[in-house]
């Protein structure tokens, strides 16, 4: 089924077993990002120590694409120096906008999200968590 290009096994796996997922107390919430198309939203918290992203956690409800993409996002930024994390985020968002294809070397599991680009209406799902972390990092460590 053609759908498997969209819902690759790795995506279904992240959807069914999201990483760094769990309830966040409201005082911890750094970002509450909503997809107006469907009303989904995820909430997110993060911690940075010594210029390195220590932890990211999210909760909320979303479709398979947004849940999996958010889950993969956490893995892509945790333990990265903040500027490097920002680079990953920028590059992912740019590739979703269609500015450039993903670099298979660098992208790792994220490459599975390439299939989303064929479904323009789902791009917002795939970028939901990424917009949230982008803003959250800006809050924690404003970019000079």
């Amino acid at each position: 089924m053609d759908l498997d290009a969209l819902y690759q096994d790795i995506i279904l796996d992240h959807y069914k077993h999201p990483r760094n997922y769990g309830p966040i107390a409201s005082e911890e919430v750094l970002m509450d990002e909503e997809n107006p198309l469907c009303g989904d939203h995820i909430r997110l918290t993060a911690a940075v120590k010594d210029g390195v992203v220590q932890s990211v956690r999210f909760d909320g409800k979303g479709c398979a694409i947004s849940m999996a993409s958010s889950s993969m996002m956490t893995e892509s930024v945790i333990d990265k120096p903040i500027e490097e994390a920002r680079g990953v985020i920028r590059s992912f968002l740019a590739s979703m906008r269609g500015d450039h294809p993903m670099d298979p070397e660098q992208a790792g599991d994220l490459i599975a999200l390439e299939g989303v680009k064929k479904y323009p209406l789902r791009i917002k799902c795939a970028t939901l968590g990424w917009h949230a972390i982008e803003t959250a990092l800006q809050k924690i460590a404003p970019h000079q």
Binding site: M1, D2, L3, L6, Y7, L12, Y15, K16, H17, L37, C38, G39, D40, H41, K61, G62, C63, A64, I65, Y119, R122, C125
Partner: protein, 428 residues
């Protein structure tokens, strides 16, 4: 004098209602329904509440118009312009007949339901709504019949009140009656909910409103295409609907208004056609309905709407309603037993817009999945975010039926839902 053939070929003979109903024959008029998508699966188009497909006679009316007598209306004296004007006005007369309006003066062409309601909000509302006045809407309104009134209420310091939706998807009429009071100037109510399928008892709602001295605007986007409508029997003051949801082209719709109400409204937009006399210092307005039709109208759209109305009258709206009732019944019977599937809207009087949620599968994933199985349904908030909040969900999936749909298309949907359940099941 007409040398154009739209009338003959496409507007055909009209109104021989109820000569028996043959879906197979109807489907021949919609070649798009034979499309095969995603590795050759038959298309099951179940997104009719969003927009319907168009029969060949409608598409052909457009082609004929453009290829035979395209010209601007009401303006020029030459043959093409004369033909175009006659077809354009003939279509208006068909609409008059279709909704049983009193005259052509009561039928205003718009882009669709949304513009119709905004026209009423600007031209009637700006004139009649003062600070402290109240407008009653319902919790199940489409954004189209909510946002224009919010904008007006904010501008005028008026108050919006809402008839609550009960557990089964019907309106709380007792609460409605308590809301009525002399400050209420307008009641705006959707005839059939695009989410719950509920057919609201608008005749009763209108009578109550009139007793309290309020006018009533009915959002007929989901009712006019699907059942017989008689504005004089209903006694509504306004009725708004869209052509594209009733087999007509995109970009055309209607605001019906009682002549006495339209007469004392200010114009909406200014420009050509809607004027009588223009000087640099000021202008006077044309008669109804042109007063509300500024600029070049959507001529081919109106002609297509005439052809669509004619097509529907040829089948007979009682037939349309009857067949859709049977189909809806079948669909509910098939969908209800699916484990984990929750259907929203259980009104005793309901139409073929069926919204549901499947446990643990997000509506968007579900819609995407069933699309791959050839089935077109919609997922999202359905332009009814307040109702979603009331139902406690961010979004739903919706299958919505029309007369060309078949029971086997519903089976195709049910099979796809069952597969999706399997595919997305958690913790597998």
């Amino acid at each position: 004098m007409s040398e154009c053939c739209i009338c003959k070929k496409c507007l055909g003979v009209t109104g021989d209602e109820g000569q028996g109903f043959d879906v197979a024959k109807i489907r021949q008029d919609f070649p798009i329904l034979n499309r095969r998508i995603h590795q050759d699966k038959p298309l099951a188009y179940l997104d009719n509440a969003a927009t319907t497909q168009k029969p060949s006679v409608v598409v052909c009316a457009l082609c004929d118009y453009y290829q035979i007598c395209n010209a601007n209306v009401h303006r020029s004296l030459h043959l093409l312009a004369d033909e175009a004007t006659q077809h354009f006005e003939e279509a208006r007369r068909r609409v008059v007949k279709f909704i049983h309006a009193h005259s052509e003066r009561e039928v205003i062409y718009t882009r669709g339901t949304t513009e119709s309601i905004n026209l009423a909000a600007y031209s009637w509302g700006r004139r009649h709504i003062q600070a402290g006045d109240e407008i009653i809407l319902t919790e199940m309104e489409h954004h189209s019949n909510l946002v224009p009134w919010q904008i007006l209420a904010k501008e005028r310091n008026a108050v919006l009140r809402f008839i609550p939706v009960l557990e089964d998807g019907t309106l709380d009429l007792e609460a409605y009656r308590r809301l009525l009071n002399p400050k209420v100037k307008l009641v705006g109510v959707v005839h059939i909910s695009n989410v719950l399928g509920t057919v609201n008892p608008i005749q009763e709602i209108i009578a109550d409103a009139h007793r309290a001295g309020a006018l009533v605007l009915v959002d007929g986007a989901q009712s006019v295409p699907h059942m017989p409508i008689d504005v004089q029997a209903l006694d509504c003051d306004f009725l708004a609907f869209s052509g594209h949801k009733m087999m007509a082209p995109t970009g055309v719709g209607v605001l019906y208004g009682k002549e006495s109400v339209l007469e004392i409204m200010d114009p909406f937009m200014g420009g050509g056609e809607m004027i009588n006399k223009v000087t640099l210092e000021g202008s006077t307005w044309a008669d109804l309905p042109l007063k509300f039709e500024a600029g070049t109208p959507h001529i081919s759209g109106a002609i297509g709407l005439g052809a669509a109305v004619n097509y529907l009258m040829g089948i007979g709206m009682e037939q349309v309603e009857k067949y859709e009732q049977e189909l809806t019944h079948y669909a509910l019977q098939k969908l209800t037993p699916i484990p984990g599937l929750k259907i929203y809207g259980r009104a005793p009087e309901r139409s073929g817009a069926i919204s549901f949620i499947l446990d643990d599968v997000h509506p968007h994933d579900l819609a995407q999945f069933v699309d791959q199985a050839g089935v077109a349904i919609r997922a999202g908030h359905m332009c009814a975010q307040p109702l979603m909040r009331k139902l406690g969900v961010p979004a739903v999936s919706r299958a919505s039926l029309y007369i060309y749909n078949l029971p086997c298309e519903i089976d195709q949907l049910v099979d796809a839902i069952l597969e999706a359940k399997e595919y997305f099941s958690h913790g597998s």
